[in-house]
């Protein structure tokens, strides 16, 4: 079988079960693709020995599940035992965890194969994968000579899946870090309901917003992989003790009678005409599939980004306090007479990149005496209002909400790097979902005038990922997006 790395998880699963292919063959095909794709900067720690060992074990297993023998990439944010896990930060240089994250434990227990660790923005702070200590991840899609961002923070995951270096990848999403890169690279990515997937062993950014999820070649694969990643974990007190449904079984493609809301507040000033057109086309596709389309209002949408840029840095400043040069990672070389305070200050100045320093300090400021109420508590109140906006439309019978995934197609690397606020605007359509704890999925739905992929986002009711995935499946079938990037790497 040729082009094994291009297979979907579902197709590889079926071929493995029939004996048409082995996991060793799939894994070797992916490893060869990875070695030929260094120009994409997607894989930053390759683990071919672990991959081959896991592939052989998978081939020897007779009772394997859906992911048995499936080669995956793992975002660098996940702690993987004995394998570098440094959140793309200099401050975790050399860190090799003595433990395995719950998500990767579950994936490996189900027979998945780890090809290596994937590039990302440092501590998942960024929307372009340009803050990584490893250098940029690059989008396999191109419109001209310039290299484009794959988005961020899960930029390496997006690039690797879009370029067929692996069959699927893990991502994490705090404000859009699965959905924005998925949209920029023409793949599918779902952020599940907050609490669906354990956060244990995932380097924390903003604990009340962080959720892991799959990034895959299509909706069916997202359903398969999400089920494997989900479930209650006693080691994460916020993980929900709820049964995990068979999400793949929910994919009937039948959305007749479903109600889809179109929020007027997402029609932003200055929105590119092709994004507006994509959104209208997507709306028509769902209507043609039998859904009822209703206009809805989510009045506090405008305030989601500013609330996020209080809450996320505040939580980050607290979470990142642990990087002090004592227990793991980088410690600065000290001058004669330096005490412990100088050690902390020099270590953190050397170890954190500019964007991480900026967010830690903003977080420190909004939590500091005298400003806590004005910034942090006000942002948490606005967060309550944003969640109530969604609760009101769901109470009115809306099953899912359709929006654009991003305000533009992938942009050139370097284009927005010097203006933090412009960069933050990338998450304008995705960040509300994290603040409200809801599931959201990005599905490729078309291309722009330059031939670059564009995505639509569907937002679902809490804990109803199966229903959401089915609506996404119907949209995927109607959109019929099959374009692939032309190989240049």
């Amino acid at each position: 079988m040729s082009d094994l790395s291009k297979l979907t998880i579902a197709a590889a699963r079926d071929a493995l079960k029939k004996g048409d292919v082995t996991s060793v063959e799939l894994t070797e095909a992916c490893l060869a693709e990875i070695d030929a794709a260094d120009a994409l900067g997607a894989f930053v720690h390759k683990t071919p020995d672990i991959a081959m060992e896991q592939a052989k074990a998978a081939d020897a297993r007779t009772d394997g599940g859906d992911l048995n023998g499936i080669p995956l990439g793992i975002k660098d944010l996940f702690c993987t035992k004995g394998v570098a896990s440094q959140a793309a930060s200099r401050i975790l240089d050399g860190f090799k965890p003595e433990y395995e994250s719950t998500v990767t434990t579950q994936l490996f227990d189900q027979g998945a194969v780890m090809l290596g660790k994937l590039n990302m923005d440092e501590f998942a702070m960024g929307s372009s994968n340009e803050t990584s200590v490893y250098g940029n991840a690059v989008n396999p899609w191109k419109a001209g000579a310039a290299e484009l961002t794959p988005g961020g923070s899960s930029g390496g995951s997006a690039s690797a899946v879009a370029a067929d270096l692996c069959l699927g990848a893990t991502g994490t999403d705090t404000g859009g870090s699965i959905r924005q890169p998925a949209a920029f690279t023409g793949i599918t990515g779902i952020k599940p309901t907050y609490g669906r997937v354990s956060r244990w062993g995932i380097v924390a950014f903003a604990s009340s917003l962080d959720q892991a999820g799959p990034m895959t070649k299509d909706v069916r694969d997202a359903a398969i992989m999400l089920r494997a990643m989900s479930g209650h974990d006693p080691k994460d007190s916020t993980s929900a003790d709820l049964a995990v449904p068979d999400f793949e079984a929910a994919l009937t493609g039948d959305i007749r009678g479903k109600t889809i809301g179109i929020p007027k507040e997402y029609r932003m000033d200055g929105m590119p005409a092709e994004i507006e057109k994509l959104w209208e086309d997507g709306t028509a596709m769902l209507r043609d599939a039998g859904a009822r389309i209703v206009d809805i209002t989510l009045p506090h949408t405008k305030y989601a980004l500013p609330a996020y840029y209080v809450i996320a840095p505040a939580e980050a400043s607290s979470n990142l306090a642990r990087y002090d040069g004592v227990r793991f990672g980088h410690r600065a070389t000290l001058a004669a007479g330096d005490g412990i305070t100088e050690m902390y200050e020099k270590t953190r100045a050397e170890g954190f990149g500019d964007e991480v320093q900026r967010r830690v300090m903003i977080g420190t400021y909004v939590l500091s005496a005298g400003f806590y109420d004005a910034y942090y508590n006000r942002a948490r109140k606005v967060r309550t209002l944003i969640k109530q906006d969604f609760e009101a439309v769901f109470a009115d019978g809306v099953d899912a909400i359709l929006t654009p995934a991003t305000p533009s197609a992938a942009f050139e690397l370097g284009q927005k790097f010097d203006d933090p606020v412009q960069m933050y605007l990338n998450d304008v359509f995705t960040v509300t979902v994290n603040l409200a704890g809801l599931p959201g999925i990005a599905v490729p739905a078309g291309v722009d005038a330059q031939g670059l992929p564009l995505g639509l986002q569907l937002i679902g009711r809490p804990w109803e990922e199966g229903d959401l995935l089915n609506t996404a499946y119907a949209l995927e079938q109607a959109a019929g997006f099959v374009a692939k990037p032309a190989r240049w790497w």
């Binding site: 050399g94 860190f95 090799k96 965890p97 003595e98 309901t193 907050y194 609490g195 009340s208 006693p234 007190s237 916020t238 929900a240 506090h300 405008k302 305030y303 980004l305 500013p306 609330a307 840029y309 209080v310 002090d324 004592v326 227990r327 793991f328 990672g329 980088h330 410690r331 000290l334 005490g339 412990i340 305070t341 100088e342 050690m343 200050e345 020099k346 953190r348 100045a349 954190f352 320093q357 830690v360 300090m361 903003i362 420190t364 400021y365 500091s368 910034y375 006000r378 942002a379 948490r380 109140k381 606005v382 967060r383 309550t384 209002l385 969640k387 933090p420 606020v421 409200a436 809490p462």
Partner: protein, 95 residues
């Protein structure tokens, strides 16, 4: 709100991040731009609104307050930049 150099210096100190004196004015400018963006929140009427503490209504799980893990000092110290005699080592803290 405009952030001055003195405030930037104080925040850097609180965050335990060394910032060179020459870099403080630019840092203050960046903070001012970001805080300017955040100030939109002042337009929202939040009277009587509870600040969110948990995004899902479920009660956090409790566990027995007992030791469940331990006796692995080598694993704990494995990644330390400086570990000696079973301890993390740091510069002298007290005279």
């Amino acid at each position: 709100m405009s952030i001055d150099t003195e405030t930037a210096r104080r925040v850097a100190k609180l965050a335990r991040i060394k910032v060179e004196e020459a870099d403080l004015p630019e840092l203050a400018n960046e903070f001012s731009a970001i805080l300017g963006f955040i100030e939109q929140l002042n337009e929202v009427d939040v009277d009587g609104v509870e600040p969110m503490t948990s995004v899902t209504p479920q009660r956090l799980k409790r566990r027995e307050d007992v030791v469940t893990d331990g006796d692995q000092p080598q694993a704990v110290l494995k990644n330390a930049p400086d570990a000696r005699e079973g301890f993390f080592a740091v510069p002298k803290v007290v005279e």
